[in-house]
Symmetry: C2
DNA sequence: CCGTATCCCTGGAGATACTG
DNA sequence: CAGTATCTCCAGGGATACGG
């Protein structure tokens, strides 16, 4: 299958950066990778939580495209694929930490009020 | 009209933070507000660039909902509405600066390669 | 000037089943 | 185990026109 390049035009650097880490599951995935270092697909999937294989795969592929993560495939059976941050991905660490800090300090309490009933169960 | 609360379930703080600033036009809008301080609607619209009134309005309303920006309406004719960051919004400054720095250093060159022909014209 | 109302349409995203 | 392949659904987002 052909790998289509995403043609997202970013008008400014902030937008460009958000295009890289702003995907629906990219934030959490990246965060777990920067905490745990290296993770197999299913380990990552388990940590991210409520995500389908298809979605997680897509997001990881995009991150790989952008040079943020490494995808190491072992020629074994059963298959084994490990994901880890690249050097470029490591440069995101302060930003991701910053986002996490801010989220804990500001967004989380507020969002908990809004979702009185619904947890993120499915 | 009733203002619907967004019921986005964030599983972690990083996600929660991205839910706040990850909207399509929020990054640029916030960045211009933190640079210019206070802007009228059309000034902001002009700076953001290729955005419709409807979209910009929606994004600004969400930011207002989240307590990130202030919306000051002057009871004049012709109407005049000014937007500015709240105290809470100011706490995003280091993150936005970080995103901008990272975008300039990493994402922008790469994205320019991908769009060899297409600029962000319409 | 600063929005809202309406219409429409693309693609993001989930469920499910299948394969190397 | 780690993915693709299909199908489907609906919300995000754009164009346009109208209103206070």
């Amino acid at each position: 299958m052909e790998v289509e390049k995403k043609k997202v035009s970013a008008g400014c650097p902030v937008e460009a950066a958000l295009n890289v880490i702003g995907g629906k599951w990219k934030g959490i995935a990246l965060y777990h990778l920067l905490v745990d270092g290296t993770l197999r697909f299913n380990e990552l999937k388990r940590r991210v939580g409520n995500v389908t294989q298809r979605m997680l795969t897509k997001q990881l592929r995009e991150l790989e495209e952008d040079g943020i993560i490494n995808r190491h495939v072992y020629a074994e059976v059963p298959p084994k694929v490990e994901y880890s941050l690249t050097e470029k991905g490591e440069t995101l660490r302060p930003i991701l930490i910053g986002l996490r800090e801010w989220g804990m300090a500001n967004a989380f309490p507020e969002f908990l009020e809004k979702n009185s009933t619904a947890s993120n169960d499915k």
